[in-house]
Every structure is written in C-alpha cells, then in structure tokens.
Amino acid sequence: MLTSLTRAGARDLVCGALTLALALAYYAGAATIPQSMLADAVGPDGLPKSYAVVLGALSLMLIARALLVRQAEPASTPVLTPAQAEAREAATADVLRAAGPPGEPKRQGTPAYQARRAAGLFAVGVVYLLALPWLGYALCIAALIATTALYQGLRPSLRLGVVAVLGAAFFYLMFVRVLAIPEPAGFWPSLHL
C-alpha cells in the first residue's frame, strides 16, 4: 500500500504523521498546566487539550486519506484535431509556465537540494543571531549581507565588499540613528576606544 502512494499521498502521509506527533506532544504539555483555584469550568488546560484532540483527529483523517484514496481517472476530453490539440497544449503550457505565482518560484534541483539550500540560509541567520551580542550590529549586518550574497552565488569581489559595507552603514543609520533602536553594540564599547 505504501509503495503505491502518489507523490501527493506521500506528502500527506508525512504531513499527517508530523502533525499527529505535534498533537500528542501538545496534549502532553497541556496536561502539565497547573490547575488554578480561580479556574472556571473550562480551566486553563481545557481548550489547549481540545485543540490537541482536534489536530490529532484531523491528522488521522489525513493519514487515512493518503493511504486509502486513489486519484480519479481523467474525464474524456472533447475531440480536437491534432493541430487544435497541439495548439491548445502549447498555449496552455506556455501561459502556465509564465504565470507561475510568486509563492512558488521556478526552482532548481531536487526537493532535497532545495531543502539543503534553505537550511543553509537558516544557518546564516542563526550565526548572525549568535554573533550579534558579541560583535555588534554594524559588523554583523555587513557580514550577513556579504554572506547571503555569496551563498546565493556571487563571487567574492571588491564590489561585494563595498556593497556590504555601504549596506551596513545604511542599516546602521536607519535603525540606530533615525529610528533610535538600541541594536547590540557588541564588545566594542568595552575597549574604550
């Protein structure tokens, strides 16, 4: 049964399994919510437990659908001449290819490759977050701009360095000076320069 799953079915199976695990974990967490003397009939744990139960039930429905429902056969199409069929197919494919919505950009590589690429950018963000209290905003934002651009395929160059520095200066001016946001200064003030 598992080997006959379509791609959509496999995706739904994974989705259902993940959300079922989330529902179980959430219910377990809700069960640890302390009861209060001020509690009403529902209590602080009432709705969280209900949400977990609903999510669990929906997850099981999705898993069942993924395992049991077959895709429908395509309906019979109207009879077209070969030239008409070819023209319609070309026109539809052409327009559909061009009209890809921005939420689903034309992407390269397999899903695993795409996920690795996304994980890489996430890692860049995490490193920025960890370095920020130590190295300060200006330096970190310049490094973030440069690293992201390099990660996206630009070659190291003087131009990239200049863009990163100017970009950092712009962000520093905008956030720290104009908007007066107290971005982390890092260890630099302790040097008493």
Partner: protein
C-alpha cells in the same frame, strides 16, 4: 470638508500614503514579494509611528503592490503578484508588439478606477456594519471569532483538512503565554519572554517573508527588463472608450470578491478577465494583446485591495493575507479592529479613508516617477536583493521589542513556513487562528462564567445566534464545495483563463 482638509495637511497622512504606494509598487514589482510580504516587512517599522500614519502606510502599500505586480508581468512575463497573472495574458503580448507603454498605462489607470470604486464601497459599508457591534457581549465576540475561523472553510485552498489543521495549529500558538482567565502560565517553559505569548507579527513575518527567502535560495534568476520599453503611455480616447466597460466589470467583481473571505485579488482578477471576455465585442483579441484583457483584472485587483479591508475593519476578521497583516499593524498600535474600533478610534478610521484616497492620487504620481527605479531594482542581481531583504527582516523584527529571542522565534516560523509550503499547508488559516485565538477563548470562557456554565447563552443572545448561523453556513458551503471538487474527475481543458483562474485562485490569497 474643512475638517478633512485640516486633517490632511496637519497629520502625516499624505507622506504615509505616498511612501506606502511607492513601497508597495517596488515590492509588488519584485517577483517573490507579494503584497502581504511587502506589508509584513514594514510592520516592525510601524512601532512608535503615529497610528494614522501607520495604518495608512500599510493600506497604501497593499494598494500599490496590487498595481506593482503588473509591471514585471507586462515587461518580463513574470507576475510580481498572484493577481497579476491575469494581466500577463495580454500585457506581455502587447509588450511583444511594441506596446509595453500602452499596457503599463492601461494597467495604471485601470488600477485608479478600481481603487476609487473600492474606496467608495469601503466608506459606505464599513461603519454601518460596525454599528451593530455596540450591542456586543462576550457571547457575541466569541461568535464573531468563530465566524472568522469558519472562513477557514473557504481559505483552505485545495484541502479542507489541511486548512483546518493549519487553523488549529494557529489556535495552539495563540494559547502560548498567560491564561486569559486565571493568569496561569501555558507552554512558556519558564521563559519570561513567552509570558505575553507570541506576537502575531512574528508569525506573519516568519511565515510570509522568511519562508519565501528560504524558497528563493534555490530559485532561478528572473528575466531582466528593458528600461527603454518601460515608459507609461496615457491611454488614448479610443482606448478609454474601449476599456470603460471592462473597468466597470473588473470593479464590480473586485467589490464583491474583496468582501468575501478567501476570494482575494487572484480570484477577482481571473473572474474579471473571464467576464470581460464574455461581454467583449473583440473576444478573439483576448490573449493576444487586448487592452480589455488588462483593464478588467487590474481594476478588479485594486478594488479588492480596498474592499478586503471591510470585514477586517468592521468585524476584525481578515479575509486575505494582506488584510491579516494590516490587522497586525492595527494591533501594534493598540487598536483592535472590529466592533469597537469606530467607537473608540473613529478618527483613525477616517484618517485611513483619507489616506487611501490620497493613495489613489499617489498611484498616478508615483506610478510615473517610480518606473525607472523600479526597473533598476528588478534588474539587480538576485543575491543582492535577497541579502538586503534578509537584513531588513532581521533588523526590523529586533526593533519590535529589542529581543534576540523574538528574532529567533521569527526564524523558527520561517522554517515552519517552509515546511508548510512543502506539505501544502496554507498559511492564512494559521494566521487566522493566531489572531483570533485569544478573542475566541477569552470570550468563550467569560461568557460561560457569566451564564454559570449555561451553554444556551450562546443562542439566547440574538447576535451570537446569528453569527454562529452564518459561520455554520460558511462551513457547510465550504465543505460542499470541497466535496464537489473532490468528486469531480480531472476536467477536460477549459478556456485557458478559466483554468488559470481555478488553479491560481486557490493558491495563496494575496
């Protein structure tokens, strides 16, 4: 009238409207940046702003972005927004015929017409709807929240189950923090930064902006625009005569679709395209450079950008991703959209109307001026654009409460958003759950306390009973629609625009 003029010139409404339109056009013109992302990027900056300026800025951004999406659709065959995909059908064909300027002009002025129609409807309908709210009690507020959540049935795209799952996960996120009745800590893991829960802005920025950046890491570069072909041409008299009826059709479709939760600009633009073609005397030109094929969808999607705000302002129920982000903007300012907004902050609503009116004028002015920088920006190497947007998002989120923890939370929601996209889980139901969860739970429990645990209170209150009945209707209609679509075998090829309308309209609601 004098009072309105005084307000216009003594508050920052005019600069906010112009800035919002400019930002929206730039954001909409960049493939991959939807109106909701353009607005989400601005959210952190609205902290500390004048409330009127903040809401006008966000509303004008939505309006500008709906037009901005047509620019790359016409010039490089890549819609900047979902709703511009309908404009692409004839817009790019006109560009290939050397008529890009004409196409851009039709798009711009049809956007103005749609915007005027949408604003008029917004002003006429919003306040009367909100007057009912003066009689609201906890039972009514609970029912209102349920009505908002019931929109999930029509916002779930291809899968009702997945929409409900996403909505439930949103409610689960909303439960994090302090219990609204007893003050008990829930899911805080002894972290003081979670005591006040997870601000909806972090969820929205993470889901919309950061997950999109993660997707863009493996996206191909888009085609570059030729700046020489990008001068807007004012439509001739003959063209105006020809596009008048399609603009009217587009405006009407946009007015209706905008107030319907889940419909949004994409569905409106394709419906308008189909209707304009049905009523056209030059049907054969559609798809090959018909001015009507641009006028109708552009009028529709800008009308929608106004009328989609009606349920959000009057009832506190966002019917689209962009309306949800605007709701976030209101919450940042301490304004609660919905029934009490007109009572407690009526002046700000008036300022929003004024600002959106100024935005229509701004669209014409900025539309001409911003074309060269717009083309320049679209032609920048994608790595630089991504780097700057990533820096902007991370800096902006830190600015919310000066918290690195919150930046981490936002990155986490970016990961969640990426996984949701892979698993085809829709975003908007989750956002609805996060935004409405507190209202639903707190009023539900409050109502039960007041009625000594008697559930009949929810139907004895006529407003609550009415809202719950409408919610039930939404759910039944949504379930029936999904059931019918599930039973229908894969359809024979229909007219291209209808195919695209059905296909793209059920995806992300801009």
């Amino acid at each position: 009238m004098m009072e309105l003029l005084t307000t216009l010139f003594t508050t920052p409404i005019i600069p906010a409207a112009f800035a919002g339109v400019a930002w929206g056009i730039l954001g909409g013109a960049l493939p991959g940046i939807s109106p909701s992302i353009s607005m989400a990027l601005l959210l952190p900056f609205t902290y500390g702003m004048n409330p009127s300026a903040a809401v006008v800025l966000l509303g004008a951004t939505y309006f500008g972005a709906e037009y901005g999406g047509s620019i790359p659709a016409i010039l490089i065959r890549t819609p900047g927004t979902n709703s511009a995909a309908a404009t692409l059908l004839d817009g790019y064909a006109m560009k290939q015929q050397g008529r890009a300027g004409e196409a851009l002009g039709i798009s711009l002025y049809s956007g103005v017409v749609g915007g005027i129609a949408g604003l008029a409807m917004m002003v006429l309908l919003t306040q009367p709807l909100s007057r009912i709210a003066l009689a609201f009690q906890p039972t009514s507020y609970f029912a209102l929240g349920v009505l908002g959540l019931s929109a999930i049935a029509s916002l779930s795209g291809d899968s009702l189950i997945k929409g409900l799952m996403a909505g439930t996960m949103g409610l689960m996120i909303a439960a994090i923090g302090t219990d609204p009745v007893t003050g008990t800590n829930r899911f805080t893991f002894d972290n003081p930064e979670l005591l006040s829960g997870i601000p909806p802005i972090l969820v929205m920025v993470g889901l919309y902006a950061i997950s999109e950046l993660f997707q863009q890491t493996s996206a191909s570069e888009w085609e570059k625009a030729d700046s020489r072909s990008a001068r807007i041409v004012f439509p001739s008299r003959a063209t105006w005569r020809r596009i008048a009826i399609p603009q009217a059709i587009g405006s009407v479709v946009g007015l209706i679709e905008g107030v319907t939760p889940g419909a949004g600009g994409t569905v409106a633009s394709f419906l308008a395209y189909n209707e304009a073609r049905r009523w056209s005397r030059h049907r054969e030109e559609f798809g090959h450079g018909s001015p009507e094929g641009i006028a109708a969808p552009e009028a529709a999607n800008t009308a929608t950008s106004k009328t989609a705000l009606i349920p959000m302002l009057s009832l506190g129920i966002p019917g689209s991703n962009s309306a949800a982000v605007l709701l976030g903007g209101f919450l940042i300012q301490g304004l609660i959209p919905g029934p009490m907004l007109f009572v407690e902050h009526g002046a700000i609503v008036t300022d929003l109307y004024l600002g959106l009116g100024v935005a229509i004028v701004a669209l014409v002015v900025v539309g001409y001026l911003i074309m060269p920088p717009c083309i320049w920006l679209v032609n920048r190497p994608q790595p630089y654009l991504m780097a700057f947007i990533f820096a902007l998002v991370l800096s902006g989120v830190y600015a919310v409460e000066n918290s690195l923890f919150q930046v981490g939370i936002t990155l986490g929601f970016g990961v969640l958003g990426y996984i949701m996209k892979m698993l085809r889980l829709p975003f908007l139901p989750m956002v609805l759950g996060v935004v409405l969860g507190f209202m639903v739970e707190s009023n539900y429990r409050r109502a039960l306390v007041l009625s000594d645990g008697d559930y009949r209170a929810f139907v004895q209150d006529p407003i609550s009973a009415g809202l719950l009945a409408v919610a039930a209707l939404f759910i039944i209609v949504g379930v029936l629609r999904h059931w019918r679509e599930g039973r229908r075998p894969a359809a024979a090829p229909a007219p291209i625009a209808t195919d695209l309308g059905t296909d793209l309209g059920t995806r992300a609601h801009p």
